[in-house]
Structure formats: structure tokens, C-alpha cells
């Protein structure tokens, strides 16, 4: 699994200030997919409920390339049927659907006790819609149009949601975070963290080896409901990385240019 992520184009630690959002080179993505397939894990199954065939085809092709088994429903009622019959590890539901509204589909499923994680897709407005989507039982919300890497990162995050753990000490490789004492250590070295840096590291350690996009970090760590004009995430992440990865140590936080960040134990 780790090798899969070697495909992400790594940047040197000083590369924190991203100059814009760019997709990773396609070959990098391809490598990861190949690696996933090679490991012979069961393919995660997704249910996509999306009325626009062209969009649906694109999403299916893209996710198919990345090792997902995607089935498709073109309207809310069909989608509800497929969701009830089970089998999907996660669902992608468009907000506006013919027949039955996307939110109604989710509410119905939740009412029936079906807890499959749902990513809501919408071309509708920003914050209020997002709140509505999450309130009706969605687990994440993505506004159209979106970068494919963003979609993939969020689906992986949904599939690998951290279980509620009773542990009060998080560990990733040599990194140790004590949630009670609010201290961080890498090996024997103590790391001094500001409150927000602590929260950021905690979030990342709960989701080690996962691609975390800037938007996800903004929403989850900073609890931001807006996109700041400045590269806030990069600057704060740069600081954290500076503290976690000292020059003589193997880097644990990787900046995937234009996409986001991954924390993993040094190889």
C-alpha cells in the first residue's frame, strides 16, 4: 500500500508555497493505480447516483482507472434501490436528481439504518448547501466542478474513516502525539506545537497514508467555510513540516504539488 503512494510526485521540503493548483502528472496517477491492482486487494465498490450521463461516464472512467468498481444509477429512485440492495462501500450522490432529490435519497437511506458513507456532489451554492447536505446525512460535500484528485482523495477518506479509538496516544512511525498531555515527540525529540499545529497533526495522524487535500484540511482542521485567497494551508503545513521533519531526518509529511499532503511513517 505504501508503495502506491510513491507514485505521487514528491517535493522537497522547501516547496511548501505552491504556486497554484495543478493536477499531478498523469503518469504518477497511473503508477498508483497499477500498484493498487497489483496488491490484489478487493476493489472498493462505489455507487454513483448522477443524472448527467456524460459526467457519470467521466467519473466512472476516472475512478475505474484508479481501482474502484463503480456502478451507476441515473436517478434517485433507481439509486435508492441499488443502495438498498447493498454492496457499495461508499456512495457518490448528486444533489439534484430527477425523480427523487439526492438529499431525500440520503435521508431515506439513513432512516432505514443504512450507514454507507456518502459524498454529496452539487453544482449548487457554497456554504448553506454544504450544511444542508451534511445535515441530511451526507458525510462529505463536494462542489461541481471539482478536480478528480479531490474526488478520489475524499472517497478514500470516506472509505478509510478512522475508527473511534480509545487510545489517547497516537503513533505513526517514530511520531507520537499525546492527546491528554498535549505533547508531541518524534523519537526522543520533543516537538513544540502551537494549538492549531497540534490539531493539524492530530488530524493527519488519524489519517496516515491518506491524501489530504487543501480543501479537506481547511474544512476539517480550520473549520473554514470559505476559501481564503492566500495559501494558508501551505504556510501552516510548511511550519508543521519544519517541526516534524528536521533536515537530518527522513521526511514524514509529503507535499503532493497541487493536490495536498500525506503523512506517513518514514520508509
Amino acid at each position: 500500500m505504501l508503495s502506491a503512494h510513491d507514485g505521487w510526485k514528491n517535493n522537497s521540503p522547501g516547496d511548501g508555497e505552491s504556486d497554484g493548483r495543478r493536477l499531478p502528472a498523469p503518469d504518477a496517477v497511473g503508477n498508483e493505480t497499477a500498484a493498487l491492482a497489483a496488491e490484489n486487494e478487493p476493489m472498493p465498490r462505489l455507487l454513483l447516483i448522477e443524472d448527467d450521463k456524460e459526467t457519470a461516464d467521466e467519473i466512472r472512467a476516472e475512478l475505474g482507472d484508479r481501482g474502484f468498481d463503480v456502478s451507476w444509477a441515473a436517478d434517485g429512485i433507481e439509486g435508492l434501490d441499488k443502495a438498498r440492495s447493498g454492496g457499495a462501500d461508499a456512495m457518490i450522490v448528486d444533489r439534484l436528481l430527477p425523480g427523487m432529490d439526492g438529499l431525500t435519497v440520503i435521508e431515506t437511506l439513513r432512516g432505514e439504518g443504512i450507514r454507507t458513507p456518502v459524498l454529496v456532489l452539487s453544482a449548487l451554492g457554497a456554504v448553506d448547501e454544504r450544511v444542508r447536505g451534511l445535515r441530511s446525512g451526507g458525510d462529505d460535500y463536494l462542489t461541481k466542478p471539482f478536480a478528480t484528485v479531490e474526488l478520489v482523495a475524499r472517497i478514500e477518506a470516506l472509505l478509510r474513516r478512522p475508527a473511534e479509538s480509545p487510545d489517547t496516544v497516537l503513533r505513526v512511525g517514530p511520531l507520537e502525539l499525546d492527546l491528554i498531555k498535549r505533547t508531541a515527540k518524534r523519537g526522543e525529540r520533543t516537538i513544540e506545537l502551537l494549538p492549531r499545529e497540534f490539531r493539524l497533526l492530530e488530524y493527519m495522524m488519524c489519517r496516515k497514508d491518506q491524501m489530504l487535500t487543501r480543501a479537506m484540511l481547511l474544512e476539517e482542521v480550520w473549520n473554514y467555510k470559505f476559501v481564503p485567497q492566500t495559501n494558508l494551508v501551505d504556510v501552516h503545513m510548511g511550519r508543521l513540516r519544519h517541526k516534524v521533519d528536521e533536515p537530518n531526518e527522513l521526511p514524514m509529511i509529503t507535499n503532493v504539488r497541487g493536490v495536498g499532503f500525506i503523512l506517513r511513517a518514514p520508509a
Binding site: 495543478r22 467555510k225 470559505f226 485567497q229 494558508l232 501552516h236
Partner: protein
């Protein structure tokens, strides 16, 4: 007329159907009725007075007669009648069997009660001939059975009735005519005015939003109404123009990056010779598209804030922690840019509001300040109290915002946000404006060393 009278399709002239004309007619009729009643009363009172005077006269004479000895009667009657140049006196002496003994009364009319004056129609005979006339007459039966009748012509009363009738005619008809004419003129004027208003409204409905209702110098309710309606029309026109302006702004904001993307793609397609070159072009194009999407997101966000009715979702927000949090968030960014960010949050104010939005507003201002302040400059973020208000002040040593654009960004954010033309300023200030407006706060941009932006919170606890 007789043919039409049974039909309901009788068409009155247009003016006769107007409300004004109808009320004029009603008022004129009421006026006529009152006048007729008044004149009738005057006539009735006058006639009663005259009748009672005549009655007093004739009963008086009867008594004088009765007091005289019978041998004087004939002489008295003749004397009385001779001494009557206006020929208004009536007198007669009749025998017990009813034959005339003396006087100018041809016969005694029947149905008279002795001593009670009454109206009677009698025939007068004298040297000028014989004529029938209406009189007031009283009789008295004398001791020896003869009947004495004394009367007086009461043509005077008829004369007065005539005078009253003529006065009524002379006064009433012109007055009524005048009322009708005035009603006609007023209703025609009102009708013309309404027609004009209606015409203009039709034009407004047809889309001519610059049209206004006619007003006169006067201050009658109609004018007041027209002025109010015109004010409403002005508001509508401004709003429509604003929407058009918003449309133009959006078009401009979106077309600029999209045009760049298009040109880039065309050039890339024509010129790129290697896959890497083509990828470079595509990467740049995606960045351009992302820029357009950012604009759309920001515009939607502004619209969302402007149209939200969040007031019920407001809660108590402590400003000092909020300001410190923004400072903490931007401190590393300022440091990276070698700009010093000084945060002072001394005031312990609590305000009513949406914390996320207020945070967004302050963060946007700090974001701008840090972005536009050159290396080595200073950005100040302060929460202070001034004249009972809490003020969040963001000052910087950047280039500032030119006066003209400052007006534009503080006034009508969404519409005339000229600041969008300033490279990189983005829609941030428009967002701040929308948030400030939603909270009913005051936002000002002033000169500092660079630029000083202030959000003033009135009514703080």
C-alpha cells in the same frame, strides 16, 4: 328614449360614469332638496303669518260690526267697501233665508262655522262687475237671524308663493347647472389624469422603466400618491440596473480568465510539439479555469450572504478571541512575507452575530492587508473601543486603495465593485461588504500609512 328605457345597455357618456361626476350629481341633488325644503318652510311660515294677520283683521271688524246698532250696518258696509281702492275687502249682510241684503258678496258660501275664519271661494259683485276670487272669510249670525260675512282677499299669499317659486327657480337652476358643470369639469380632469396614468403604467409594464407618473406642483393626495409610486419606480429601476450591472460584472470577471484559457489552448494546440509542452499548456489552462471557478464560488457566496436571513441564527460572539484567532492564522503568512503582524485585542466586547461570517470578514481584510504590504512593512490588527463602539481595525503600510475606488468598495459592494479591476484584490472586499451589511455594521476604508479598514460594531454589551 322609450325604446332604450327597458334595456340595461343604456350607455352613458364616459364622463357620466366616473365617480367624480356621480358624486357631484348626488351632492347637487342633495343641495337642491335642501334648498326646496328651506324655501318651502319660509313660504309656509310666511303664509301662516299672513293668514293669521288677516284672520285677526276680519274677526276684529266682525266685532266692530256686532257692537254697532243694526241701523248703522248698511252704511258701515257701504263705507267700508267704498273705502277700498285695492279692492281687497269683502263684506256682505244676508237675511236669515240667505238672500243678500247688502255688500259685495253674491251669496254666502256653505260650510262655514260662525266666528271661525276660513278659506273660501266667493263671487264678488260690485260696480266693476262680477268675479270669482279666493278669500279669507268669517261669518257671524246676528241676533235677529241675519248673517254678516266679512272677508279679505288673500291673493297676497299666492303672490308670496309666486315670489318664492320664482326665487327658487332663479337661484336653484343656475346653482344646479353650475354644480353639474363643475362636476363635469372635475370628472373630466380626473378621468384625463387617470387615463394618462394608465397610459404611462402600460408603458412601464411594456418595459420602459424610466417612465414616471405625472405630478403637479400641488400637494393633493393624488400628487402624493404619484410621488410615492414614482419613488417605488425609482427603486425598481435602480434594482434592475443593479442586476444588469451584476450581470456585466460577472461576465467580465468570468470572461477575462476564460479568454486567457481559450487563447492558451489554441496556441498550445497549434504550437506544442512535445507531450510535455502540451501538458504545460493544459496545466496552465486548468489553473485558468480554476480562477473562473473561484470567481463563481465567491459570487455565489456573496449572493448567499446577501440573501440570507441569518439573523435568527445569530449568537453572542466574543470579538477578542476571534481577532486573536485571525492573527494566529495569518501570523506565519506575514512572517513568510517578512511583514510584521501586530495583534492587539484589548477590548472585551461581545456582539450579536454569525461567528463564521465575522471571522471570514476579518480574515479577508487581514488577508488583503498582508498580501498588499511589501516586504519589511507592517500590518496591524486591533480591537479597540471608541465612542462606545467596538472597532476592529486593520491597518497596513501597503499602497492603499485610491479614493475613488474606496468609495466604490464601501458603498454598493456587489454592484460597483470597481476594486475587482485592481489586480488580485478579488472579491474579498465585496464579501466583507455583504457580511457587514448583513450584520448592520459600519465599514470604512481610510488613509493610514497605507490603508486602514475598520469594521465598527455599534450596540456592544
Amino acid at each position: 328614449m322609450s325604446a332604450a328605457s327597458g334595456s340595461s345597455s343604456v350607455r352613458l357618456p364616459d364622463f357620466a360614469r366616473t365617480t367624480t361626476f356621480g358624486s357631484t350629481l348626488a351632492i347637487a341633488s342633495a343641495f337642491v332638496l335642501c334648498t326646496v325644503l328651506l324655501f318651502g318652510f319660509v313660504y309656509w311660515q310666511t303664509a301662516a303669518y299672513l293668514t293669521s294677520s288677516i284672520d285677526a283683521l276680519i274677526t276684529g271688524e266682525l266685532q266692530i260690526f256686532a257692537a254697532e246698532p243694526p241701523e248703522r250696518w248698511l252704511a258701515h258696509i257701504n263705507e267700508r267697501l267704498d273705502n277700498d281702492p285695492r279692492r281687497i275687502r269683502i263684506a256682505g249682510l244676508f237675511g236669515a233665508d240667505g238672500h243678500r241684503i247688502a255688500g259685495n258678496l253674491e251669496s254666502l258660501p256653505g260650510g262655514l262655522t260662525p266666528d271661525v275664519p276660513a278659506d273660501a271661494v266667493v263671487v264678488r259683485v260690485d260696480n266693476q262687475g262680477r268675479e270669482t276670487e279666493k278669500v279669507r272669510l268669517a261669518t257671524e249670525r246676528l241676533p235677529d237671524g241675519e248673517v254678516l260675512a266679512i272677508g279679505r282677499n288673500n291673493d297676497e299669499i299666492a303672490g308670496i308663493a309666486n315670489i318664492v317659486r320664482r326665487a327658487l327657480m332663479l337661484g336653484l337652476l343656475p346653482a344646479f347647472g353650475l354644480a353639474v358643470v363643475i362636476g363635469l369639469v372635475l370628472s373630466l380632469r380626473a378621468r384625463n389624469r387617470l387615463l394618462e396614468v394608465n397610459r404611462r403604467i402600460q408603458r412601464i409594464v411594456a418595459g420602459d422603466l424610466r417612465e414616471r407618473l405625472p405630478t403637479r406642483k400641488g400637494n393633493d393626495p393624488f400628487d402624493q400618491l404619484a410621488v410615492s409610486v414614482n419613488r417605488v419606480l425609482g427603486e425598481i429601476e435602480a434594482l434592475i440596473q443593479e442586476i444588469a450591472g451584476v450581470g456585466n460584472d460577472i461576465a467580465h470577471d468570468l470572461r477575462t480568465p476564460l479568454t486567457r484559457v481559450r487563447v492558451r489552448l489554441e496556441r498550445g494546440r497549434a504550437r506544442a510539439t512535445t507531450l510535455d509542452e502540451l501538458r504545460g499548456v493544459v496545466d496552465q489552462s486548468i489553473a485558468g479555469l480554476d480562477q473562473s471557478l473561484t470567481v463563481i464560488t465567491a459570487l455565489l457566496r456573496i449572493a448567499e450572504i446577501e440573501h440570507s436571513r441569518r439573523l435568527e441564527g445569530f449568537s453572542q460572539v466574543e470579538l477578542a478571541p476571534l481577532v486573536r484567532e485571525v492573527g494566529e492564522l495569518y501570523e506565519p503568512i506575514a512572517e513568510d512575507k517578512h511583514v510584521s503582524l501586530q495583534v492587539e485585542a484589548a477590548d472585551e466586547a461581545t456582539v450579536q452575530g454569525d461567528r463564521d461570517l465575522l471571522f471570514e470578514a476579518v480574515a479577508n481584510l487581514v488577508d488583503n492587508a498582508v498580501k498588499f504590504t511589501p516586504k519589511g512593512g507592517r500590518v496591524g490588527l486591533a480591537l479597540l473601543r471608541r465612542n462606545g463602539e467596538s472597532v476592529v481595525r486593520i491597518s497596513d503600510t501597503g499602497p492603499g486603495i485610491p479614493e475613488i475606488e474606496r468609495e466604490a468598495v464601501t458603498k454598493r459592494f456587489y454592484r460597483s465593485d470597481k476594486s475587482r479591476n485592481t489586480e488580485g484584490l478579488g472579491l474579498g472586499l465585496s464579501l466583507v461588504g455583504a457580511i457587514v451589511k448583513l450584520h448592520g455594521l459600519r465599514f470604512t476604508i481610510a488613509d493610514g500609512p497605507g490603508c486602514t479598514a475598520e469594521i465598527a460594531f455599534p450596540q456592544v454589551n
